[in-house]
Symmetry: C2
Subunit: 554 residues, 2 copies
Amino acid sequence: MAKELKLNLIPLGGLGEIGKNMMVVKYGENILVIDSGLMFPEEEMLGIDVVIPDITYLLENKDIVRGIVLTHGHEDHIGALPYILKDLDVPVYGTKLTLGLLQGKLKENNMSNCVTLVTVKPRDVVDIGPFKVEFIRVSHSIPDAVAIAIHTPVGTVLHTGDFKLDQTPVDGDVTDFHRIAELGQKGVLVLLSDSTNVERPGYTMSERVVGATFDETFRMAKDRIIIATFASNVHRLQQAISTAYKYGRKVAIVGRSMLNVVSIASELGYIKFPEDILVDLDEINRLPSNQVTILTTGSQGEPMSALTRMALNDHRQVEIIPGDTVIISATPIPGNEKLVARTIDHLFKQGANVIYESFSGIHVSGHPSQEELKMMINLVKPKFFVPVHGEYRHLIKHAQLAVDMGIPSSNVFVAENGHVLEFSRHRGRISGRVTAGKVLVDGLGVGDVGNIVLRDRKQLSQDGILIVVVTIEKETGGVVAGPDIVSRGFVYVRESEKLMEEAKEKVKLALEKCEEKGITEWASIKSNVRDAIGKYLYEKTRRRPMILPIIMEV
Amino acid sequence: MAKELKLNLIPLGGLGEIGKNMMVVKYGENILVIDSGLMFPEEEMLGIDVVIPDITYLLENKDIVRGIVLTHGHEDHIGALPYILKDLDVPVYGTKLTLGLLQGKLKENNMSNCVTLVTVKPRDVVDIGPFKVEFIRVSHSIPDAVAIAIHTPVGTVLHTGDFKLDQTPVDGDVTDFHRIAELGQKGVLVLLSDSTNVERPGYTMSERVVGATFDETFRMAKDRIIIATFASNVHRLQQAISTAYKYGRKVAIVGRSMLNVVSIASELGYIKFPEDILVDLDEINRLPSNQVTILTTGSQGEPMSALTRMALNDHRQVEIIPGDTVIISATPIPGNEKLVARTIDHLFKQGANVIYESFSGIHVSGHPSQEELKMMINLVKPKFFVPVHGEYRHLIKHAQLAVDMGIPSSNVFVAENGHVLEFSRHRGRISGRVTAGKVLVDGLGVGDVGNIVLRDRKQLSQDGILIVVVTIEKETGGVVAGPDIVSRGFVYVRESEKLMEEAKEKVKLALEKCEEKGITEWASIKSNVRDAIGKYLYEKTRRRPMILPIIMEV
């Protein structure tokens, strides 16, 4: 009897982190990729724009990658595609809105003609290599989200994608409980499930709750209403626009990304409104304040965003007026807490009444709380369980939850990016490891900024730089010009002339000593200069600027 | 009839921010200062160690400053004193523990002999110039905290300091409700009250709740217990040590600041334990795991702290062992959320069971929630109300709360640092403004890092620096050496040789053009070089490093 092939699941992103989701499914000489997301940089990744998964493993197996399937259109699930598809020529499968948003990105990168996009609908089943791939509707904070079931000869893998079990979604399209239950009945080998909110007990509130809060707020507001939310939360935008319509207000949309989403979503039929309700800013500024709604980006306090500019009285077209009601319909993403708080403070200072997270009902999450996670496990009854999409503590807690639900702990795997999970019909294990990691994108450079550059940026950011230039004569080695010292980010130079003069003396002394000792090698001279001046400056200032000696030769 | 003197209240810190609390009370030619705190730097203050209030106003009025009174020993109330007392020779009044902690700081700065410290007890009344200053016990997350009543000819000012109304404090010393009520009965002109937690409904839980949680956790734990909390939370430390004693465990303390606080607090009698319960780390490492408790700093995920090092397996003496229970008995201070989350993740990875903020009862706040704030207003029944100690939104909400409690809105002032509040017996108003702001401390430099330096650090941190050096001949202006280009924090040089070569060509071209056009002024040459290379690099990389041309002359 031929040896049965094993099924591999290899996370290349999204495990032990929130962001850059990417899961590889491998069976024999066939690879299928689920999602290709980006992540926003950690604080210490100075100057970095975005972070994408390291796809070395996929490039090494280029010939057997059969396709990429997408669960939904959020950046952390599709954002790496413009980078990845440059090196990987494979078809991409997704629902209409997901591909619509992706298409926009590809266009920006002049790549829209070189990628094969295959549009699917919920309940579609597509053959990709040996995989029967099935798309299953779930609720999330963006429409057209799907879970993905992959039927393989070894068994069925169900990847939930990001989901919540919203019983009353805004568009009425509830999670396809029936199909999930049916799959569970037939038997699912592995369940991969969203761990983001595993720390939250109970249920995540329905998106409709926000609509009710909007209604209440619109009913009470006498002047303008400004709502900031995530650009991609189409249902939230729909509810805001519908409520504005109900209360006889017009709506202006501010912020490039939100304009972009509204245009794509309305074109594809995911957002609906009477034609004349949307007006541009010029026009809305001429209306009485009780007929005005402004929908804007900037719910995360991002420095360049529309809302932040308004808060700082720095927006070209919108000025905050006392009496304005500003609704921040979002929760700060971890790391953005202080930026959001600062924006709220500034808005209050401008005289606005700000409604924000401390009020319930102004925002709901798109991810499942504990009871929903349990429901998913009960419906699917998987043999093996792998928590995905979460920081390490989320994965641990989700794994514990699965064990508490009765899945044997030997069948639950807390994996890391790069781990190779191997499954037969009856057994599962972590069998190895492939290359995985973070690729940093800075401007046009993908992966050219590494640890050395970041370490330098860190040092530069803390205490600045001091450049020591000296010109010496080739023949004699004698100093013919300099030493000159230039500093940036170190001290305010005009107030520290004496310090700089003395530093220059230290350099001269060090150079003289080198000459005396007959040291002529540049590296040694530089290191002597660096030591002398570094020690002196630390004594005087307790700072350690980067010291960069440059020797010129004439 | 002589014109009656007015009473001024001038906040120099702590309004519109959490930190660097400082309130000036002025009557005639007499100034009293309440608290002198520091603040930790905002994210964009690169390289800055701490921030202290700008005391220009006090220095301009040096001769009439009669004293500084302290509410309690937290950094944001006493931390600026080592800097400020260098320029201001006035006596400092505080309770025993507060001055004990201050004394430690002054010793570190070799200042302990040049400052007059006056120890007071709750209910003491001290004459300081024309002010009768009364100290009134309140509960807070550090013992020996007081509110301060200042009796002046115009009326009584009550400054709550930081407080909570803990009905069952660990040391049994409840807030002095009786004296506060008595003052309210007699009539208080102005109440200044702590706004930190105004967004929280209900009551802040008693510190004893944490003791109960400790007890439960100790009862269940089979192996070592590691507790991280704020070094200054003496009652929390007391509860941890008492619980350890109850369960037959020894305690080792890790972290310089915590060792320091325990030593001062036990010497002064604020923390009590059987002599042999505290052991050092060497000793505790030899005990069976169920007899071990480690108390440590690092509850904020600070990179160099003991707990963070343990989590990263980088601590010299403590290694996390699977089975360890780690309790993070603290809440992340805004801005530290990601650091704390990362530490928790690493602890889980080392195999610890981590108990942290998502569990209730593991930490309680030291500040009053809404019902306590209302109670304070009802007890004091002030004529005028000024919310203090909070970000702008907190002040606004606290002001709203006071108005809801029946204080006329014309008697409630949301002030900013530097505002001069003027009170007579019957009227109050914001009458002017004095210098106030942030002084940045970087190493030994106090105030020498300003906006230009910070702007440079910001640019350096984002895209690094590129230095262009060229040596020219004095007589002819001809280039005799260079141009050379050195970069740091820009790109990984070995991978970008071509880019640097081409950049060098751009510089040569720019220099040649200058020569052709007869441009000899250095500033013009530099700006031509900067433009040429900056444009080229932006096109190629979409980055904008700082470009620093240096011309040497021989």
